[in-house]
Subunit: 346 residues, 3 copies
Amino acid sequence: MEKTLQELADYVGGTVAGDPNTIINGIMGIDEATEGHITFVANEKYIKKMNHTKASAVIVSPKLINAKKNLLVCNNPYLAFARIVELLMFKKPVYVKGIDSATSIANTAKIGKDVSIQAYVTIGENACIGDRVVVFPGVFIGENCTIGDDAVLHANVVIYPDTVIGRRVTIHSNTVIGSSGFGYAPDGQSYYKIPQAGNTVIEDDVDIGANTTINRATLGQTIIRRGTKIDSQVVISHNVEIGEDSVIVSQVGIAGTAKIGKHVTLAGGVGIIGHITVGDNVTVGGHSGVAQDLPGNGTYLGTPALPIQKMRRCYVIIEKLPEMKEHMKSLDKRLKQLEEKWKNSD
Amino acid sequence: MEKTLQELADYVGGTVAGDPNTIINGIMGIDEATEGHITFVANEKYIKKMNHTKASAVIVSPKLINAKKNLLVCNNPYLAFARIVELLMFKKPVYVKGIDSATSIANTAKIGKDVSIQAYVTIGENACIGDRVVVFPGVFIGENCTIGDDAVLHANVVIYPDTVIGRRVTIHSNTVIGSSGFGYAPDGQSYYKIPQAGNTVIEDDVDIGANTTINRATLGQTIIRRGTKIDSQVVISHNVEIGEDSVIVSQVGIAGTAKIGKHVTLAGGVGIIGHITVGDNVTVGGHSGVAQDLPGNGTYLGTPALPIQKMRRCYVIIEKLPEMKEHMKSLDKRLKQLEEKWKNSD
Amino acid sequence: MEKTLQELADYVGGTVAGDPNTIINGIMGIDEATEGHITFVANEKYIKKMNHTKASAVIVSPKLINAKKNLLVCNNPYLAFARIVELLMFKKPVYVKGIDSATSIANTAKIGKDVSIQAYVTIGENACIGDRVVVFPGVFIGENCTIGDDAVLHANVVIYPDTVIGRRVTIHSNTVIGSSGFGYAPDGQSYYKIPQAGNTVIEDDVDIGANTTINRATLGQTIIRRGTKIDSQVVISHNVEIGEDSVIVSQVGIAGTAKIGKHVTLAGGVGIIGHITVGDNVTVGGHSGVAQDLPGNGTYLGTPALPIQKMRRCYVIIEKLPEMKEHMKSLDKRLKQLEEKWKNSD
């Protein structure tokens, strides 16, 4: 597909600085882009690269406007990038409509209109599959599950019984939703399994990556609220609640009954201990361990997690601990010399 | 189901304080419980909530007996909770008996009595499936595997050849048992794969969560001993041995040939380096990194892991390192002033 | 199988010290070996055990030659070990040739010679499967994928559309290749999915463990270069590039657009932040968090990662922080006493 720079600017609601008739036939990263490509600079860190890119045009924010390139200027360059990728580069997948004959679907299951249910799919008793739902091969949907309209379940996803999946939810391959929570009561010698009698609810517009695990609740519900995006290989334990529009990056682990607010970002590998609350609009930096409540609207880092500015100061000092120790030794020595002198002067 | 408080006390071996005829029709968490519910307080941290819960009764230990609520008093409230959840709230799953026609089972495989082998299951040559085993859709069981009586393999579990699974073992979806260990001999330029000629043995009464990986041994066996409970997305490498009744929480990683004792608890995200020994009754706190042998009967925390009391003191000081550095600067300055004075007085 | 020690020495290009006619019928670890076994000592740490092993012979490097055991002496004992395991202990798997009737293969897919395509496999439109490829049950291969000659895809692996898999690649169960990258543009209120229009390329001779996730690129390619070995439950994000002959141990997470060099080793649980570069021949110790570029040829440890010698010194001091704080208090006290004395002497 080919568009002029002006057409792209109109498409994303921006303006052109430079030649509006520049022909654009693709979008690429600033290093890989060549003639005919548009690229983007969302981060000021990459401004220098603007002068060296071979791209025919660059998407920028208004404050980066003084470059010599053809520019598409808009307030949210990253969003414009996303929309132009979709327009120029993305081939929207087309799913074969219908139900494959090699499927195992209970008689009591209700299947919506215009679905794509592919080979080797199992759907249990009383499950309810919405309209236009796409179910890739090898997916298992247990009894009494509800799958909302326009949801997409990629190959080999497993949805345990009683799970509720909202509309426009995408779940990537080998992810498991609604598996048993990990709860055991020690009986003195061994462990007694606490039956996990609750379920899992995934609200509308949630995305979930590959190989992620979201357990059902012991009692009540594990809930992922509307619009939250979850990456790959995340573990979300029984009775966790995650608020709306949060972002949970890969390999995060959230222990039982933790409550995560809305607009929260947990970066890769963060661990959240059970039974705590993370407030709205919190960001936690990668690989951090959160062992107590975090009030809202802050950014935290480290194990145990501290406010990020504080933790960064600590990291700088930790790196200098050997020097600090030497300094302390020299202080001790100088002090001793003074003490000696004083003693001798008595 | 409905029970009187007295009936529940009899069921779990406890006593009633308050009205024994209180009708109980469900069990819920202390915040969610309403009239007709029993709830529980296992942790003294939640005592205050007892006065505000809407529950009709509370399960407590003898030391919390002075509340104004109807109480079910017993020595192990958490165990009583588990058993009452099972009694009142848990619908024990019923599995369709028999072998689905859409399965691929080798002629030489032996299948026990009263099994439930569901659609799209593959069972390899000479595999031996015990009585009452439940195999959900999409499970793969390799050649020469043994699956003990009453085991349950959830959808899309993969059991590599030669694996031995004990009785009453539950394995959750997309978990992989017996995959190749990660062993390579550098040959100067590249890597030579060390064939993984051993197998994996899961003893009786082990539970394993979803998306977990337990590799086979290079030589000999990777062994998970009786009664151990393993959570989701755990990695257990070749030749690891885990003792009886241990608890391995989600995202733990145990490197090759490590030996973990019995009654050990490894909290979420703990990493254990290869070739070390963790003694019996050890607990390691979440997100810790264990890089050397840990003697038995201790609790450890941090990376590298230290005895927990010590590590907690270190954490407190780390948080104060900026102040400590300032303090050191001020000591230096005061010392310099004294040195100057001394020099001037000479 | 039985071999003389001399035959084994010839096989691996080593020499015998002791009785060349010693009969060897197996290989085992130094603790487990009994009569008739050969064992090995690759690490000087285990030299002491050589005198206590019941093995009939030991593989050693030339510098360990002064033991009283029958020895197979060679320059790379670990490689010799690998090759003898393969010779004596490893039963090379034999795959049933052909295409199972219970498969779902698009008419436009091209299938090579002598393949083994087992039950419940799905292969999409225009996919191209090389010669002697083995595809275990439940595998999904999306449209337009290429699978190189002699590749092995274990049960329930998922390969998303457009993925390129090289020759002799092994992928273990439940691993997902080519799933959507985790990219969202905030639109002020919620998140706009950045369509992931690139693909994933796995070059020749790469091994990938179980339950690993490798995402496709937003634009361009996510690339794993020739000979790299990846363990279980690793996450590799969109647009990552990993050089040749690197080793990525279990539970590593590599964020988007990071570039990892060749001959790199990332130990278990390492996290790499996005958009950074890790140079050739770098080793990063287990559980470390890398938040900035690492120059080549170094070994790093900790969070944030530092050169290992430096980090180890820091760890030693961290452990002594409580004593250090006490020391500082005592310095302060002694200083105060001197200051008092000075004041009083004025």
